[in-house]
Symmetry: C2
Subunit: 237 residues, 2 copies
């Protein structure tokens, strides 16, 4: 059976199968070699993710180790505690411990699986004020780019500590002039171009872990392998 790639994260993962989404692009890329499984939970932080981890993944006795798992949390943890998103806030120290615990859980369950941590994206505070989730008379954004940056840094520290891959999306995106509107549609969630960045970074990390389309086994004959003079020969096994 085809191996799986799990995408575990918050709304930026949940909506990754929208038009041009990074999850759909991964599924398209691996269309004959792997199943991309969506496990995105809008609004979730690492505290909540930790509570549900056993329900997110199939029991180990029911399936083989997945090829890879992306773990993409922090955008909600980084909500400021005294703003309207405060109920989603998780202190920086706890974020680090929660993320360590998630990686630990995955490594214990599937020692050979490639784990890729993805930092939260940068935040465009102006756009957050223009697109608040609830009435926000304070005139202050519920997330700041600086806070997101602190969580991104901790995410990278966890990856380093655990010896797993990481994508520093917070830094990567800000290297592009006009990233605020180019990559983010509401100051937080991704545009199609932003989705493309994530897709390409995930593919790059997978490649570094030697999870490469060209070398993954294809479970059934490809059209170009089928002999037009005797097509059924390819299906004899």
């Amino acid at each position: 059976m085809r191996p799986k790639i799990y995408l575990f994260g918050d709304s930026i993962t949940e909506e990754s199968f929208g038009d041009g989404g990074w999850g759909a692009s991964l599924a398209n890329h691996f269309s004959r070699t792997g199943d991309v499984v969506l496990r995105g939970y809008s609004g979730y932080n690492t505290r909540w993710a930790l509570k549900v981890k056993e329900k997110v993944f199939s029991p180990p006795e029911r399936e083989d180790a997945p090829l890879a798992v992306t773990v993409f949390f922090g955008a909600n943890d980084a909500c400021l505690p005294d703003r309207y998103g405060g109920f989603q806030h998780v202190p920086l120290d706890e974020y680090k411990h929660n993320l360590l615990a998630i990686v630990d859980f995955l490594k214990n369950r599937w020692p050979s699986t490639c784990i890729i941590l993805i930092t939260p994206p940068p935040i465009d505070e102006d756009a957050r004020l223009q697109h608040p989730y609830v009435d926000n008379p304070s005139g202050l954004p519920e997330r700041t780019n600086e806070a997101a940056g602190s969580y991104a840094k901790q995410c990278l520290a966890v990856a380093e500590e655990c010896g797993v891959s990481a994508i520093d999306l917070w830094t990567k995106m800000q290297q592009f002039p006009g990233w605020q509107k180019a990559y983010l549609r509401d100051g937080l969630h991704l545009t199609q171009s932003g989705n493309k960045v994530v897709f390409e970074e995930v593919i790059k990390q997978l490649r570094e872990e030697e999870i490469i389309l060209e070398t993954l086994p294809v479970d059934l004959p490809l059209l170009e392998e089928i002999d037009p003079k005797d097509p059924l020969k390819s299906f004899k096994n």
Copy 2:
């Protein structure tokens, strides 16, 4: 665990996770309630599909019955036997029997699963001449709309005979003026608008079978169900 929706078919299924693809749109629609599993095999006809069916789906002892399976073959069966796609051609009678056998296989394995047959789309012969897969000096298209229509009719007959759902894509698409360019990008494969038609028709058929987003169980708390004053209450079970 989340129930699955399998998409079993040829290239129109295989590429359904591209930008705006009908498979990705289904995965997005059911993002918190079901896993959409891609089982598209470019170039395949029902003869080849029948040979591989046991490898396409997980063994029954390893997973619960899926919610639904779409079966979307015929575009390759309908290649004309004396043109360059002749090695993919399957005679109309055999197409019918193969499709019956596929439905039989699925019904035996999972009696409660919703099966949706999808007819081949219409063919824009001019575009097929402009976008041949191989050098085609004959000046004749390898597929015709008339042939695709005969296979579509047999597909509907199989659905009727087996008492399963069907989507008459061949007829549906041709009701729209300018369907040739609006829905098909090379006379055969779907544009984003064509993908939208398939997505909407699949959702409609699922709804008729009472597979509806709003009534499917959600496996983990939705953000709007979480009490901002006591978020962890939602995660107590």
